[in-house]
Structures are given as C-alpha cells and as structure tokens.
C-alpha cells in the first residue's frame, strides 16, 4: 500500500509524542515553581507581625500581597499554556486513533483480498502488507496510549497545583 505524502513517519510520530511529553513536563516544572512561590508568599504574609495600620506597615503588606497577585497571575498564564499543550496532545491522540482505525480497516480489506487470492506470490505480498498494517496499528496504539498517559498525568498534577493555589486564596 502506498504511503500518503502527508502521513507522518513513525519517527515523526514518536518525536511529536515525546515533544508533547517534554513540553508538559517542562511546563509542570514551571508551574511547580510558581505554586511554590505563591505558597512562600502566603507563609510570609502569615509570618509578618505588622501591628495594625501605619504608613510603613500598609506598604509592606501591599508589596507582599502584590507578590501573591503576581504569582497567581503567572500561575494562570502558565496554566493556559499547559492546557494548550494538553489540548494539542489530545488532538494528536485522536489523530493517532483515527490512523489506527483507518489502518485496521485497510488490514481487514487486505485480509478479505488475501482470502480470495490463489497465487502464492500475490498471497505472500498481501500477507506482508497485512503484517505491516498490524505492526502499524500496534505502534499507533502504543503511541496514542503513551500520549494519553502523559497527558492524564499532567492533568492530574495540574489539578493538584490548582488545588494548592485555591486553598490559600485571600478572601
């Protein structure tokens, strides 16, 4: 069966899946740092003894509260970027799934054709094609599974991060 020119090669598929995994991991590390900053800022606010209102105390409190606002703003931005990568990963999973379905359909057609062929040479070629298709399906299923596992882990981690940020929000 001829390969379509716009169909990515196996190495391209693997690269893309790995890139999404790396991007999600990198972003998760950024988010972890930002969440850690937010928690540090909140500990700072809890630890300060500002002794009520005065010009100096208000400004100190304002600066540290500003630090929290900046941290939460960074978290929101990074969350959006992470969600975008997760979205792209999910889209890729769907593409891989569709390709796997198409290949399964092709394999069934090959299998049907194979049962009607009596020539050994042609039968052997069809068997080879069927075998290739089976390996393609396995590969695509594996890659889609890896991408899904990485994305779901990233989403689980992000839910934890979000909970940490929400738990200490100022009222």
């Amino acid at each position: 069966m001829a390969r379509r020119s716009d169909t990515p090669t196996r190495s391209e598929v693997t690269e893309k899946v790995e890139k999404h995994q790396d991007d999600m991991n990198d972003k998760a590390e950024d988010v972890e740092e930002t969440v850690s900053d937010i928690e540090t800022v909140r500990r700072t606010l809890d630890s300060l003894d500002l002794g009520g209102t005065s010009e100096g105390a208000d400004e100190v409190e304002g600066a540290i509260e500003g630090a929290e606002d900046i941290g939460v703003g960074e978290f929101d931005e990074e969350s959006q970027e992470l969600e975008q990568i997760q979205g792209e990963t999910e889209e890729h999973e769907s593409e891989l799934g569709e390709r796997s379905d198409t290949t399964t359909s092709d394999m069934e057609k090959i299998s049907d054709a194979s049962s009607q062929i009596h020539s050994d040479a042609a039968g052997s070629e069809l068997a080879k094609a069927e075998d290739n298709a089976r390996r393609d399906i396995e590969f695509l299923t594996d890659q889609a599974g890896s991408a899904q596992t990485a994305r779901e882990e990233s989403q689980r981690l992000h839910t934890e991060h979000q909970a940490r940020v929400d738990s200490g929000r100022r009222s």
Partner: protein
C-alpha cells in the same frame, strides 16, 4: 516599661510623636520661665513678692503637667522600640523567604517591601533618638524645678525627681542623668 501591651503592639503614629515632642519642649520652656521668675522666699515663707505662693503653685502645676508628659514619652519610647523590633523581625522573615522565591517578578515585590521596612526602621530610629533626648531634657527640667519649692510644701515623690519610674522601679539611666546635672551645678 509602662506594661501597656496594647500600646506596644500598635504601630506608632510618628506625627503624633512629633506633636508630643513639640509640646514637651514648650512645657520645658514654660517651666524654665516659671522657675526663673520665682521670687525669693525665706524658710518661714516670707517674701517681698505678695504673689510668691501663687507663683510657686503655678510652677508646681506646670511641673506636674510636664511630669505627665514624661510618662507619655516613656510610653511612646516603648511603642517605638516595639515597632522597631517588629520591623527588624519582619525584615529577617522577608529576606529569608525572598531567597526561596523563583520568579524575579515576585522577588521584586519582596525587594520593595524591604525598602519600605528599612525606611520605616530609619524613621523609627531617628524618632527614638529624639524621644530619648527629649526625655532627658524633661528630666533635667523637672530636676531643676524640684529644687525650688515653697517652704513647707515638699514636692511629691516622683514628680520631684522627674522620674515617674514606669513599672515602679527607678531607672539607673535617670539617676545618672540627675547626678550629671548635680555635677554640672
């Protein structure tokens, strides 16, 4: 010193302290003028001035007012000291936490807080020096004024020495000041 915990926990209104210092200096001048205008009176209370007793009584009133001022200044000194300590502790906390921050934009806010705290500490330290100096001035004025009293009317304890001794104990520093004044005389 005064044992007023609430006062010590509140932040100091520096404008109010400034007003108190100004008022204390006005009272010192008033007491000084009053002391210098006291007529001579012998041991039996005789004087050439017919208003001698009233003038001495006026001096005692001003002296009592200034003594009240002194108590207020001790409280302010304590409050400034407490806030200064709080600010320094806060600076330690902020500096320690700042080192754990990853994002520059967040760290910048910590730097800003540190600048604010340092500025406040400087203002408080300057004001502390001025309050301490004013306390010494008041003590000196009270000590000088207590030397002069109408015969048979001993000045009250504390008021006479200019040491209201907050907390009920005599401050060694104040005694030193008094001795110094005595030596100068």
């Amino acid at each position: 010193m005064s044992g007023d915990v609430d006062v010590a926990k509140k932040n100091v209104d520096l404008d109010q302290v400034e007003d108190s210092l100004e008022y204390a200096h006005e009272q010192i001048e008033k007491l000084d003028r009053s002391v210098h205008s006291l007529p001579k009176v012998d041991e039996d209370g005789n004087s050439e001035c017919p208003f001698a007793e009233e003038l001495y009584a006026q001096k005692e009133d001003i002296q009592a007012q200034l003594n009240g001022q002194l108590k207020g200044l001790y409280e302010k000194q304590e409050a400034i000291d407490a806030e200064n300590t709080r600010c320094k502790n806060n600076l330690v906390v902020i500096s320690a936490h700042e080192r754990r921050i990853h994002r520059d934009s967040v760290r910048d806010q910590y730097s800003q807080a540190e600048v604010e705290l340092c500025a406040r500490i400087e203002c408080l330290s300057e004001m502390q020096e001025r309050v301490t100096k004013t306390i010494k001035d008041v003590q000196a004025a009270l000590a000088g004024a207590s030397e002069k009293y109408y015969p048979g009317k001993c000045p009250q304890d504390g008021e006479a020495s200019g040491t209201p001794s907050p907390g009920g104990t005599t401050d060694d520093r104040e005694l030193d000041d008094l001795l110094e004044i005595e030596q100068e005389r």
